[in-house]
């Protein structure tokens, strides 16, 4: 019998995995909370990296690889990063062939701009809505496969758990329809979680509201490891907002934007001052800490507020419109000022998770048959992601995981069709009961308020600057929230399109995942990339050049440590005030 493939997630990673499977003759059941075209990948603004070296700068895939590993403070396994960087130019050409309207040079070739953490023009872009354009191209190809009968879409479904057989092998999923609220089980020989990041654990972030990390948090409770959950990227430049922290892409600095504040009544370009070699294009963790220091330690935020300026006003308006139009519009629409005329006010915001489901080099979690790709996995970015590397890792992740699912499924001795119905019924029943319990909760805790509180605690204690005693307090408070969760009262008990019940279920998974972030952070007593502890200000390779692997237990996360693959580039100190030393 033909193997059955389930892809959960229609962002770039899930769509690319789907295309790869269809192209190789398979068919896919594709699940997504929203129409796949509306997935969070649409938010990506600045661009996608690939060392095509069109500007005579001597760029190479090796240099891209070295920048990425160095940028990630040597925590990423090097083999997959190397392969990703080697595939990058081909991926950009493929996207071009699929019709992505990349910005072009006068010769009609692809244009590239600069991004943080590199000295090369390596970032291909479509105005300032690159993610949107990339996902539209993939969405169109998947629609083509849908018309050809190879893809069956389940849009508007929440995948709520994995079905594991007696041997602990993944045999399918349970999902709930967001409209009819029907809970159903689906058989699959290989399941790919391409479900994106967990930004909502922090309440407000630059991520979309469906980025809860809920299903990752769920399969973690079913035995999947989380890799480096503590590695959360805080982006230096976002617009503070009541409902969302909206990103101002790094491409603003890539195109010449400067960050400053007043000191002694005069503009102080502090990034250029502190990091002469890279200036405004230092990696995100570095810029974020500098802004934090300027605002909180030196109390030099603009008007005493925790904001600094991101300034584009010295660049001519026509260039800005062509290269950054999309993000300038966001600032204008949501703040009302014209960034061509006045500097933008920005502050750092939680943005991306380098950590995620632990996977092997073939994108499989420690649960056989359960794969992960895209932002949901932990594979490519170590302790800090370079800008424009994650559209790349999402697409590349799909290119690896799709074929890997097929190879795995074709090698199975028993297919999901041979597994007794009782296995599927048991997981279905378990989820139906859990949901029924939620419907009947009549306490006085509102799930949305509980979530708000989780976000505030996470943001305060586990972001830019981390102190052990605060993280400890956070971990304890998460347990308090877990107790209060038992007293939830759902504001809606209807049996049709009930968003409260879905949200409440996700909230529990966010609490579990959040706790793993806290415990991972607590136990990493060093500073590396985005993870910064003033009490341990140095990187400590001897003790912590290791992947955190968090395993769920009823008493909280249990940590294990895994050696990092550093076979190509020997770890060296990471500095951005001076030029990077050559690695080869």
């Amino acid at each position: 019998m033909e193997p059955r493939y389930i892809v959960v997630g229609g962002g770039l990673a899930g769509l690319m995995a789907t295309i790869k499977i269809c192209e190789a003759g398979g068919s896919v059941d594709l699940f997504s909370l929203v129409a796949v075209k509306r997935s969070h990948s649409v938010c990506a603004q600045g661009g996608i990296n690939g060392a095509v070296n069109t500007k005579g700068e001597g760029d190479s895939t090796w240099e891209h690889f070295d920048d990425s590993v160095y940028g990630g403070d040597f925590l990423a396994n090097q083999t997959p990063v190397k392969e990703m960087c080697e595939a990058a130019p081909g991926i950009i050409f493929l996207m071009d062939r699929m019709g992505v309207p990349f910005s072009r040079t006068p010769e009609g070739l692809l244009d590239f701009r600069r991004f943080g953490g590199t000295k090369h023009h390596r970032t291909a872009f479509s105005g300032a809505t690159t993610g949107q354009q990339l996902i539209y191209a993939c969405d169109e190809q998947v629609r083509r496969w849908e018309v050809a009968g190879k893809v069956r879409k389940y849009e508007g479904w929440d995948v709520i758990s994995a079905v594991l057989d007696k041997e602990g092998i993944c045999r399918g999923i349970v999902a709930q329809n967001l409209v009819t609220m029907e809970i159903k089980v689906f058989r699959g020989d290989a399941v790919n979680l391409a479900t994106g990041g967990p930004g909502m654990i922090y309440g407000r972030s630059t991520q979309s509201v469906i980025c809860t990390g809920s299903i990752a948090g769920q399969v973690y409770q079913q035995g999947a490891y989380l890799g480096n959950p503590e590695m959360i990227q805080v982006h230096p430049t976002a617009i503070p907002g009541a409902d969302k922290l909206r990103l101002m892409s790094e491409s603003a600095r890539g195109e010449g934007g400067r960050v400053w504040t007043y000191r002694d009544g005069k503009p102080w370009y502090f990034l250029e001052d502190m990091f002469p070699a890279y200036g405004n294009l230092v990696p995100r963790d570095i810029a974020t800490r500098a802004i934090y220091q300027v605002c909180y330690d030196m109390k030099l935020g603009v008007d005493g507020q925790p904001v600094v300026y991101l300034d584009l006003t010295h660049i001519d308006a026509a260039t800005l419109d062509r290269k950054l139009g999309g993000i300038l519009e966001i600032y204008e629409k949501f703040i009302g000022d014209d960034p061509r005329k006045v500097p933008m006010k920005i502050f750092p915001a939680v943005h991306y998770s380098m950590g995620g489901l632990w996977v092997d080099f073939d994108a499989m979690t420690n649960i056989p048959g359960l794969f992960a790709s895209g932002e949901a996995d932990y594979q490519y970015h170590g302790a800090n992601r370079l800008g424009a590397n994650s559209l790349l890792s999402a697409i590349y992740g799909g290119m690896v995981s799709g074929p890997a699912m097929m190879q795995y499924a074709q090698g199975l001795k028993k297919s999901c069709a041979d597994i007794p119905q009782s296995v599927f019924d048991a997981e279905l029943k378990r989820q139906q009961n859990a949901t029924e319990k939620l419907y009947n909760m009549r306490g006085n805790e509102n799930p949305y308020l509980l979530h708000k509180e989780l976000g505030e605690w996470m943001s305060e204690h586990c972001t830019i600057v981390r102190y052990n005693k605060n993280i400890q307090k956070l971990e304890e408070h998460i347990q308090v929230l877990m107790e209060r969760y038992q007293k939830l009262g759902l504001p809606d008990t209807g049996r049709y399109a009930n968003q409260s019940v879905i949200f409440a279920r996700n909230l529990w998974n966010m609490l579990e995942y959040g706790r793993a972030i806290a415990v991972g952070a607590l136990n990493r007593n060093e500073s590396r990339g985005s993870h910064y502890k003033p009490e341990f200000p140095e990187r400590d390779d001897e003790n912590f050049l290791k992947t955190t692997k968090a395993k769920w237990t009823p008493n909280g996360p249990a940590l294990e440590w895994e050696e990092v693959d550093v076979q190509y580039i020997k770890p060296r100190p990471r500095r951005y005030d001076v030029d990077k030393e050559a690695s080869k």
């Binding site: 075209k37 997935s39 649409v42 493929l94 699929m98 083509r144 629409k333 949501f334 009302g336 399109a497």
Partner: protein, 248 residues
Amino acid sequence: MAEVIRLRVKRQDGPGAAPYWEEFDIKYRANLNVIAMLQDIQQNPVNAKGQKTTPVVWGCNCLEEICGECAMVINGTPRQACSALVDKLTKPITVEPLSKFTIIRDLYIDRAKLFNALKKVNAWIPIDGTYDLGQGPKQPPAKADWMYKLSQCMTCGCCAESCPNYSDKSDFIGPAAISQVRLFMNHPTGQLHRDELVDNIMGNGGIADCGKSQNCVRVCPKEIPLTTSLADMNREALKRWFSRGLRF
């Protein structure tokens, strides 16, 4: 006393159920948008009469006007709720679901029709495969910029909502899908398939159903030149009609 904003929401418990209005008072703060108001109701589901009620059901995702999910009719105009800032809206603020689609519940709607239209017109580049086939075709930069504009369509449905010819009673696929055909037939690879692409909008529900009301271009949140696309495609269809005639 903090300023309070009145929000009137057109609610409906399910498809076919009778709609009703419910009003809410939301505390004002700087940069408040319609989404944040609806989020407030989730956290405190009490209406303006002080009665407990259920949170309003609606769809949203990116909150930066790029995913197209939160389209609704706000003060009579179809638009995205995330970019609807309270400071710029007349009060009280009314919100209603897009009316041209199946209403699932409250403001939450089913827009499968829009995606089916994209299937019908084959809105994609027919690549040979995702294998390493080298660079894509060269393109004039000005044309790439122009295609980028058309390519920003989020399939939100605002154009369809505003179009008098788009309804349950007609098969008209709407302005968005037709504009996509214009995008694809101008791509160097799509150009190789111009005729088939134009054929796709010449039958029932195609370009001939456009009544030229020009409403679509006025409401498009991405300012896509939809009426130019429609006029262009009308011309292409005419050319194609003549050339097909000559070949018989």
